[in-house]
C-alpha cells in the first residue's frame, strides 16, 4: 500500500487535489467573512477617531474604546464635519473617514495631489481637529489619530501597530505612552516642529509641554522614531489648513 503513494502520478494528482480543495475552502471562508470584517474595520476607525478626541471608556490605566455597538451613533453625535483637504481645496464628505491613508501616500509619491482627511469634532464646547497618521515601525506599519486644537496643540492621541514586538514597541498603544502627547505643542515659535520621541529628555513625567518631546519607551527605539517620523511627515501637511483657521 505504501508503494501506491510513491508513484509520481499519484503525487501530482494528490498535490493538485489538495490545492483545489484547500483553495476553494479558503475562498469560501473568505467570501463568507468579508462583509463582517469590512464592517468591523469601519467601526474600528470610528472608535479610533473618537478615542483620540477623548470619547472613550478609559479607566485609570487602561485604554478602552467606546463599545462597538455604540460607535456609529456616537460618531455622528460628536463628529460635526468630515473634511477632505486636497491642495487648497477643502470639501466636506461624510465618508472621509474611509479614505485609505496608505493609498493616498502612494499617490503623493507618484505626483498626484493627496487627499488629506480631517475630522472636526465637538465635545463640551471644545473643538477638536483629528487627523490620521501612518508610518513605519520596526516590523510593519504603525498608524494612529491625533486630535489637536486650532493652534495645533495635541488634545489626544491614539496609536496602533500591525506587528511591533509585544512588551516593547507594541507599548505605543499603552496609555502611559499615548497620554504623554496630550498638551504637547506641535509648533515651536510659529513653525511646525512635530513631537520627538526622545530617549534623552530628562522629563519622565512629561511636565514640560513646550519642548516638542515625549519620553521614549526603553527597548523600542525604532518604533518610537517611527512615531515621531509619522507625526512630523503627516501632520506638517495640515499646517496650511490650520493657518486658514486664524
Amino acid at each position: 500500500m505504501s508503494k501506491r503513494t510513491d508513484s509520481n502520478l499519484y503525487t501530482m494528482l494528490f498535490a493538485i487535489g489538495m490545492v483545489v480543495i484547500v483553495g476553494s475552502l479558503l475562498a469560501f471562508v473568505f467570501s463568507q467573512t468579508k462583509p463582517l470584517i469590512t464592517q468591523n474595520q469601519k467601526i474600528e476607525k470610528q472608535q479610533n477617531i473618537l478615542y483620540a478626541m477623548g470619547v472613550n471608556e478609559n479607566d485609570e490605566s487602561s485604554a478602552v474604546f467606546i463599545s462597538s455597538d455604540k460607535a456609529g451613533a456616537e460618531f455622528s453625535k460628536y463628529i460635526k464635519k468630515q473634511l477632505i483637504i486636497k491642495g487648497a481645496e477643502v470639501t466636506e464628505n461624510n465618508e472621509a473617514y474611509l479614505i485609505n491613508v496608505k493609498k493616498e501616500q502612494t499617490n503623493a509619491k507618484n505626483g498626484i495631489t493627496r487627499k488629506l482627511p480631517l475630522f472636526v469634532g465637538e465635545k463640551e464646547g471644545k473643538t477638536f481637529y483629528i487627523a490620521p497618521i501612518r508610518g513605519k515601525g520596526l516590523w510593519d506599519a504603525i498608524w494612529g489619530y491625533v486630535a489637536m486644537d486650532q493652534n495645533m496643540v495635541v488634545q489626544g492621541a491614539f496609536f496602533d501597530h500591525k506587528g511591533e514586538t509585544p512588551g516593547l514597541g507594541a507599548n505605543i498603544k499603552q496609555r502611559y505612552f499615548m497620554d504623554d502627547f496630550i498638551g504637547e505643542n506641535l509648533m515651536s515659535n510659529g513653525v511646525f516642529k512635530g513631537i520627538t520621541v526622545s530617549k534623552s529628555n530628562n522629563d519622565p513625567k512629561n511636565i514640560d509641554k513646550n519642548d516638542n518631546e515625549v519620553d521614549a519607551i526603553a527597548g523600542a527605539t525604532i518604533t518610537g522614531d517611527g512615531v515621531a517620523a509619522m507625526i512630523k511627515s503627516e501632520l506638517s501637511q495640515y499646517v496650511p489648513y490650520f493657518k486658514t483657521l486664524k
Binding site: D6, F14, T33, N40, G167
Partner: protein
C-alpha cells in the same frame, strides 16, 4: 484518569514534564524568545498553539495513509497554513478585538517548529485520537514553559503582571521602588528569554539525572 487509558494519559502528561517540547526536545524556541516579554502574550500564544496543534494533528493523522511521502512536508505546511488562515478570518469576523491581540501570533504559529515536529514525529504514524492527545499534551507543555518565562520576564523587566503594577510605580517611586528597587530592562530583551529557559532546563535536569545525555 478514568476516561483515558494509562498509555493515552501519558501522551498528555509526558510533554508536561520529562518530554517537554521546549526544554527537552528544544522545539519552539523561536516563539518562546520572541513573545514572552509579557505574560498576556504568552498565554494568548499558548492557547492559539493548543488549538492549531490539536486540530492539525488530527487532520494529518486522518490523511496519513494517503499523503505521498515525497511531498509530506509541503502537505503539512498547507494544512497548518490553511487552519491558521481560517482561524484568523473567523476571529476577524466574529471576535475582532481578540483578533487584534492575536495578530502577531497568527503568523508565528505557522512557523512554529513544534507543530511541524509533532506532525512529522507523531501524527504521521498514529491514529487520530492518539494524535489529538499528543497535540494537546505538547501544546500544554509548550504553554507551561512559555507562561513561566513570560511571568519572570514581565515581573522582573517591567514590574507588572498582566499589566498590573504588582511591585509599585517605578516613576512615582512607590512600593518596592521606594526602597531603591529598579526594573531590569535586560529582562525585556530576547537573550534573557534564552537564559530563563536555560535555567528551567538546568533545574529540570538536576531533578531528573536520567535526562542528561553523555
Amino acid at each position: 484518569m478514568g476516561l483515558l487509558s494509562k498509555k493515552d494519559a501519558a501522551l498528555i502528561t509526558d510533554p508536561l514534564a520529562d518530554n517537554n517540547p521546549i526544554t527537552i526536545q528544544v522545539l519552539g524556541i523561536c516563539s518562546a524568545l520572541a513573545i514572552t516579554a509579557e505574560l498576556k502574550a504568552s498565554i494568548v500564544m499558548s492557547i492559539s498553539v493548543l488549538f492549531v496543534l490539536g486540530i492539525g494533528n488530527v487532520v494529518i493523522s486522518l490523511l496519513r495513509n494517503i499523503i505521498p511521502s515525497k511531498i509530506r512536508i509541503i502537505v503539512q505546511l498547507i494544512v497548518v497554513a490553511a487552519l491558521v488562515i481560517i482561524v484568523d478570518l473567523v476571529l476577524k469576523a466574529f471576535a475582532y478585538e481578540l483578533s487584534k491581540t492575536l495578530s502577531v501570533f497568527v503568523g508565528l504559529i505557522i512557523t512554529n517548529c513544534i507543530i511541524m515536529g509533532r506532525f512529522e514525529a507523531f501524527a504521521l504514524g498514529n491514529g487520530p485520537w492518539k494524535s489529538f492527545l499528543d497535540g494537546i499534551g505538547n501544546a500544554l507543555g509548550y504553554g507551561v514553559i512559555l507562561i513561566a518565562v513570560g511571568f519572570f520576564r514581565e515581573l522582573l523587566g517591567s514590574g507588572t503582571l498582566l499589566g498590573f503594577k504588582v511591585l509599585g510605580d517605578p516613576i512615582e517611586k512607590t512600593g518596592l521602588y521606594a526602597i531603591g528597587y529598579e526594573n531590569n530592562g535586560f529582562m525585556l530583551l530576547s537573550p534573557m528569554a534564552l537564559i530563563v529557559v536555560g535555567i528551567i532546563i538546568w533545574i529540570q535536569r538536576t531533578k531528573n539525572p536520567a535526562l542528561i545525555e553523555d
